[in-house]
């Protein structure tokens, strides 16, 4: 009985097994015939896309990308007539994939959008200007690279520019050149870490509340400060200069600056008579230092306050911190918080050139600082906050 059961179960198993085996052999045979043809077809199809950005390219071969290539580069091909790189960047949305053809002279031949999720119709309108073989980036080189930025579609056009620049850098690297692919922010962070003898520390710009002569900028971290003096980065940790190849002059300037910063103590102004006299809608808080300087935090009416209510129903101001010296001259300004349109006003407030242009200005001439086309209301909002700071400064100093 058991033997019969085994027999009755064995037959279906064997038949199914044999059918599967014969099927596998038949498929293997067909694959042997069609496999190379399919591979050749796929190569031809892939080359077709590559030829759209590098029409003179021949014999495309994929490049093995290593750490030395920019992070944005996701694919690369070497051809007889140049290179083709595919970069994945983030515009208004992530996943903006751009292909760029670069000839043997290091010049852009053509660019093409492979994939995009830029939902805003205005952003998408950038593509016809930059895509193809006669777009805005044609013949651009790494040395003289000029981004093509469009007001109102800044994020998309900046991302496109980033992809093209990364492709040009990748082409230079593939050609054997030594290219620094780090962003300016990465370079700054690396330089600060190097000056302080640390790795991976995050540095933030110190908000200047004291006038420090001879020092261009100060960056702080949990381990110490880094002073930028001309081209030198001088690290100071626990009152001592880090590093041996620093000139005596720079060391002295850095230590003097460190002493000023360490001695600088801010006292919050809480006198109700003084605070009560200030415009409560504009004024947030104020501090004074022993050296007679003031740090005043105020609100400014930007696009978040004056823009269409359907987009900004909560009505939030630009909050600005301003430090003013005893002579009524601005030492530093910075954005504490803002709710402007990310790719228009938000970009302006993240632009250090705009923010730094208020340094050393007085009540009389701060308004001469120029804003940015398309972000006028944000620029005016920033100036509005500075005006409020000067008004508060006058009241706090008794009209002096």
């Amino acid at each position: 009985m058991k033997l019969e059961n085994i027999k009755s179960n064995m037959k279906p198993t064997i038949v199914l097994g044999v059918i599967c085996l014969v099927s596998a052999l038949l498929l293997a045979l067909v694959n042997v015939i069609t496999g190379p043809i399919i591979a050749a077809n796929q190569n031809a199809a892939a080359n077709e896309a590559l030829l759209e950005v590098l029409p003179d390219g021949k014999n495309f071969e994929e490049i093995e990308l290593g750490d030395k290539y920019p992070k944005a580069i996701t694919k690369g091909y070497k051809a007889d007539g140049g290179y083709v790189f595919q970069a994945t960047v983030t515009g208004k949305s992530s996943g903006l994939v751009i292909m760029c053809g670069i000839n043997s002279d290091g010049k852009v031949v053509g660019t093409k959008v492979i994939a995009e999720q830029e939902t805003d119709s205005y952003d998408v309108n950038v593509f016809p200007y930059v895509e193809g073989l006669d777009g805005e980036y044609k013949d651009q080189t790494l040395e003289g690279f000029t981004p093509y930025l469009v007001s109102g579609a800044t994020l998309t056009s900046a991302a496109y520019s980033e992809a093209i620049k990364a492709s040009l850098q990748a082409a230079a690297i593939a050609g054997g050149a030594d290219v620094d692919t780090r962003t300016p922010e990465q370079i700054l962070q690396d330089s600060c870490n190097e000056a302080l003898g640390t790795t991976g520390l995050s540095f933030t710009k110190w908000f200047r509340v004291e006038v420090i002569e001879g020092v261009d900028a100060v960056y702080e971290s949990t381990e110490g400060r880094v002073y930028v003096i001309g081209e030198a980065f001088v690290g100071v940790k626990a009152g001592s200069v880090v590093g041996t190849d620093i000139s005596a002059e720079d060391s002295a300037a850095a230590l003097a600056a460190d002493g000023i910063i360490e001695a600088s103590v801010l006292t919050k102004i809480t006198d109700p008579d003084l605070i009560g006299a200030l415009d409560e809608k504009k004024f947030v808080e104020a501090y004074s230092s022993a050296s007679g300087n003031y740090v005043i935090v105020t609100n400014g009416d930007g696009y978040g306050m004056k823009g269409p209510s359907k987009y900004y129903p909560s009505r939030k101001p630009i909050v600005v911190k301003v430090s003013i010296d005893s002579n009524g001259r601005i030492i530093d300004t910075m954005v504490v918080s803002e709710h402007e349109t990310a790719d228009i006003g938000g970009l302006l407030l993240n632009n250090s050139e705009f923010i730094d242009s208020f340094d050393n200005k007085t009540k009389e001439d701060y308004s001469t600082v120029e804003g940015s086309s398309g972000a006028t209301m944000t620029a005016n909002g920033y100036k509005d906050a500075i005006a409020a700071a000067f008004a508060a400064y006058e009241l706090l100093t008794g009209g002096n």
Partner: protein
């Protein structure tokens, strides 16, 4: 007489037992690939090739394949032919391969092919099964091309990719979309019913049981009879429960 029988097997799939319009099988690829005549023609030819080859092999192996594993065996055989067709199309007609997309691989689970293997090929000779495959394949092809012609000409103002000057200005795009597919499908079935009505109609009931995977263990002559029996049994059970609860 024998020749007439063979001819009848061949022709049956085209009108009398048309798989798409009478048996209502293969609806998914029918709706998906009839947006253009070229894709419908390609799908029809690919499915016909698979149908003929799988019918022939299944018929040849009908005495070897045990009943208990017949469905897995049929699926493997059909899958092999579909994969072969896929590979050949990808190698030699890549544009058609791209056009058919996932629906080419889905021929593996096409009801027409598995249905003909189960209903015909496993009970008949190799030649008869081949003829049945050719007939059913042509029936499928004709139905697909007829539907695609209506959808492409009226919906897209073109035929096989060539624009028709006058109609291009008055096209009805909804016909190339899913709702239009159902609409045209319904209308073509209605037309087919009208044609077959004159010939005494279609015996759907006999197919219902024959095509049912449980037909070999079911002794009823039709599903409606089975349904009536189930309903009577259900009523009896309910009455019994009420009586028990009452006590």
């Amino acid at each position: 007489m024998t020749n007439n029988k063979k001819l009848a097997i061949l022709l049956r799939g085209i009108i009398q037992d048309n798989p798409v319009l009478i048996l209502i099988l293969g609806t998914c690829p029918t709706l998906a690939t009839t947006t253009s005549v070229i894709s419908a023609l390609s799908m029809g030819i690919a499915a016909t090739l698979v149908l003929v080859c799988s019918n022939v092999v299944i018929s040849a192996l009908r005495k070897i394949i045990p009943d208990t594993v017949r469905i897995p065996c049929y699926i493997v055989i059909i899958a092999v032919f579909v994969t072969v067709v896929q590979m050949l199309l990808q190698a030699f007609l890549p544009s058609i391969y791209d056009m058919l997309g996932v629906y080419l691989a889905l021929i593996v689970v096409n009801c027409i092919i598995l249905g003909r293997a189960e209903m015909f090929a496993r009970k008949n000779t190799v030649l008869d099964s081949a003829l049945d495959g050719v007939g059913m394949g042509i029936g499928f092809l004709v139905a697909l091309v007829a539907m695609a012609t209506v959808r492409e000409v009226i919906g897209n103002g073109s035929f096989a990719g060539f624009e028709i000057p006058f109609l291009a200005s008055f096209k009805i795009p909804v016909l190339t979309q899913a709702p239009g597919g159902f609409l045209v499908y319904g209308l073509v079935i209605a037309l087919m019913n009208k044609i077959t009505e004159k010939r005494g109609g279609v015996k759907r009931k006999s197919f219902s049981c024959e095509g049912c995977p449980s037909s070999h263990i079911c002794n009823k002559t039709s599903c409606s009879e089975m349904l009536e029996l189930t309903m009577v049994e259900s009523e009896n059970t309910e009455t019994k429960e009420v009586e028990e609860n009452g006590n």
